[in-house]
């Protein structure tokens, strides 16, 4: 378990293999955790974030590109232990070829964690016929003065968007790639501080 005090930005690239890590976010500390996953082979990513200090906050983002026969498992835990804590999670995947994304994640709010604000979202864009997505988000709330929201979407490419790009002289394949990369990158807008976001974007471009 890594303990976070103050502000911490962690950006990681994962390509195959297993990444399992847990963070304890202390009083008024802030964690921004970003995974960029190249899922052309089997990949497991399992972050657990425990908000143990009052006023702690965490933003967790995963950008997944699945291709070939890659099977990408993402297993997350947002565990609110202390009161007045905030967590915000977004897992986005674009799937091509025969790839498969399996997301399961929980928000757990202990009875001690009043005034929790927790958000969890999983979005999957299925580009090819043989792709699969399974999403099992879960909420377990033991406190009452909280706001917890989660959402999940599985969808395919919007033909109207593609048609629009084609009408502007962009060929279909390029158009598809543009939409897919826009779909992933828009996840970074969850990082509200502009400086932090620029920093994360810069780190990603170096991968």
């Amino acid at each position: 378990m890594k303990t976070i005090t103050g502000r911490s930005i962690v950006v990681k690239k994962v390509a195959g293999g297993t990444v399992s890590e847990s963070y304890a976010v202390g009083k008024n500390a802030q964690l921004i955790l970003v995974y960029v996953v190249d899922g052309s082979t089997d990949t497991d990513v399992s972050p657990s974030v425990h908000l143990v200090g009052t006023g702690a906050s965490a933003t967790i983002i995963s950008l997944i590109s699945g291709s070939a026969h890659g099977k990408i498992r993402v297993h997350t835990l947002q565990h609110h232990v202390a009161s007045g804590t905030t967590s915000d999670l977004l897992v986005k995947s674009v799937l091509r070829g025969h790839s498969e994304a399996l997301y399961d994640g929980s928000i757990r709010v202990d009875a001690s964690a009043q005034k929790t604000d927790a958000y969890q979202r999983n979005e999957n864009l299925l580009l090819d016929e043989h792709t699969h997505a399974t999403s099992s988000p879960a909420l377990e709330i033991l406190a009452n003065d909280v706001r917890c929201t989660h959402g999940a979407v599985v969808k395919t490419l919007d033909e109207n968007e593609l048609w629009y790009l084609c009408s502007r002289g962009i060929d279909r394949d390029t158009g598809r790639d543009m939409i897919a990369s826009g779909f992933l990158k828009s996840a970074l807008t969850r990082i509200t501080d502009e400086k932090d976001r620029t920093l994360v974007e810069q780190k990603i471009s170096e991968f």
């Binding site: 799937l95 009875a111 009043q114 999957n124 299925l126 580009l127 090819d128 016929e129 792709t131 699969h132 997505a133 399974t134 999403s135 099992s136 988000p137 879960a138 909420l139 377990e140 709330i141 033991l142 406190a143 009452n144 003065d145 909280v146 706001r147 917890c148 929201t149 989660h150 959402g151 999940a152 979407v153 599985v154 969808k155 395919t156």
Partner: protein, 465 residues
């Protein structure tokens, strides 16, 4: 409401009816017991065979490892079959005053509440029942209890029984298949539109609140029927385990709506399997309200088998002290252009726990299907709990699947606003809760909707008064 509720927070709305029976099986379940039930009912051999097979599956299958805690069920301590005598003519006045009072406050009509309380209001009801039966049989609609259904239409029952929920589906479906008794049998012929909702409690010729009810509804092409079971009035039961199975077959272009209001007393495990098979362009709607019981595990399902089939599940769960409502819905898309919607609203208070558990599954080849799941939960105090466990398995890329869930408490601003208008806190809270469940309550038949609102108000008063 100015008067203080006579009902304390612990009030279970329970009451006792003395037991009168002519046949009662021994406690526990063995293969002999299962044979005896079938023998006693003079059933055809194939049904006995089904029961025996199901009993074997029941003994082999493990309890589900997820959901509510079921380890305290004592399967060996249960009477699996009781044949009731004719109803004894108790007097309405003989009921405990608080029960009469609850019925009065919920606003149940005189004739109905006597019937619900098990006293003899059969003369009035019988007239209503007979005239409904006449108009139904003119259209060719069959509406019987399941035992009579099997006796009078053995071929029809044999053709469909267990085709939607086989005995091996889960431990409780197996249990039900081996010991079932009562429930309804409904057959609606092609193109027939049944205008009045069919209500289970009009069927007074048999015990209507069975422990192991078995219901089978068949809606032929282009037909429509609305079936209503249960009632908002509290039902006391001495049985600790209720395990019903409901199978519905919706043929091409037909539409079936099935409304349940469950308000068992707080000692009951309510473990029910409900599933509908929907063919091309058919529509199935489940409206499911769970207020009572100790533990409920119930996930009404739609299996969308034909093109453009549609399924809807509307669910309300309310968990008070010592209650766990594990409810939700399942939509399984097998065919292209199928659509489904699951809307769940849950409220937990006084240490109660509500869980939404659901599944949306899309099979390969089910192009262009759409599904939307929305779960909203209210937690009213800090000793209560709310969970959401949705699962989505999507194996087809041309789809649009959405899920949203929110858990929150009653907004302080909302309360403050109402209180500033001179409304007391308890009253304001029950107004907000009633507003919260309104989108589902308005789908109920009017009399149920009114009763439901009053019941919620009553329960809320007990908690915060």
């Amino acid at each position: 409401m100015k008067t203080k509720s006579p009902i304390s927070g612990k009030y279970k709305y329970g009451f006792h009816k003395p037991e009168h029976y002519v046949f009662k099986s021994a406690r526990g379940l063995d293969i002999e017991g299962v044979r005896n039930i079938s023998l006693h009912k003079h059933e055809p051999a194939w049904m006995l065979e089904r029961r025996v097979m199901a009993h074997m599956i029941f003994t082999k299958k493990a309890l589900p490892t997820w959901g509510a805690d079921l380890s305290t069920i004592k399967f060996d301590d249960i009477f699996y079959y009781i044949k009731p005598t004719d109803k004894k003519a108790n007097r309405w006045e003989d009921l405990p005053p608080e029960i009469r009072d609850t019925y009065d406050r919920i606003g149940i009509p005189e004739a109905e509440k006597k019937f619900l309380a098990g006293v003899s209001a059969q003369y009035e009801s019988e007239v209503v029942y007979k005239s409904i039966q006449n108009s139904l049989s003119k259209k060719g609609v069959i509406f019987l209890d399941m035992d009579s259904g099997l006796r009078q239409y053995p071929d029809l029952v044999r053709q469909y029984f267990g085709t939607v929920i086989p005995s091996g589906d889960n431990k409780f479906a197996a249990l039900n298949t081996s010991v079932w008794s009562g429930g309804s049998f409904v057959y609606v012929p092609k193109g027939v539109h049944v205008d009045l909702p069919l209500q289970a409690y009009f069927r007074i010729n048999a015990a209507n609140m069975g422990q192991f009810e078995r219901t089978l509804i068949i809606a032929e092409e282009g037909s429509y029927v609305h079936y209503v079971e249960g009632c908002t009035a509290p039902i006391y039961s001495t049985d600790s385990l209720h395990s019903a199975v409901v199978e519905i077959i919706v043929k091409k272009g037909a539409r079936v709506r099935y409304t349940t209001i469950q308000n068992w007393s707080n000692n009951v495990y309510n473990l029910v399997t409900k599933r509908a098979r929907v063919e091309e362009e058919g529509t199935m709607e489940w409206v499911d309200g769970n207020l009572g019981s100790k533990v409920t595990m119930k996930y009404p399902s739609v299996y969308l088998m034909g093109r453009k089939a549609r399924g809807e599940v509307l669910s309300i769960a309310y968990a008070g002290p010592n209650q766990h409502q594990d409810a939700g819905g399942k939509a399984v898309h097998y065919a292209p252009e199928t659509t489904s919607q699951i809307i769940s609203k849950s409220i937990s208070r006084g240490g109660g726990r509500t869980s939404y558990r659901g599944l949306v599954e899309v099979f390969p080849g089910a192009h262009y299907c759409k599904s939307k799941v929305v779960c909203d939960a209210l937690i009213l105090d800090d000793s209560s709990r709310s969970d959401t466990y949705p699962t989505m398995k999507i194996n087809e890329h041309q789809t649009q699947i959405e899920h949203e869930a929110t858990v929150s408490k009653i907004g302080d601003e909302q309360l403050f606003y109402l209180e500033s208008r001179g409304i007391s806190k308890p009253q304001a809270e029950s107004m907000i809760v009633n507003g919260f469940i309104e989108p589902i309550v308005r789908e109920l038949p009017l009399e149920y909707a009114v009763e439901m609102n009053r019941l919620i108000q009553l329960q809320m008063e007990g908690s915060v008064g």
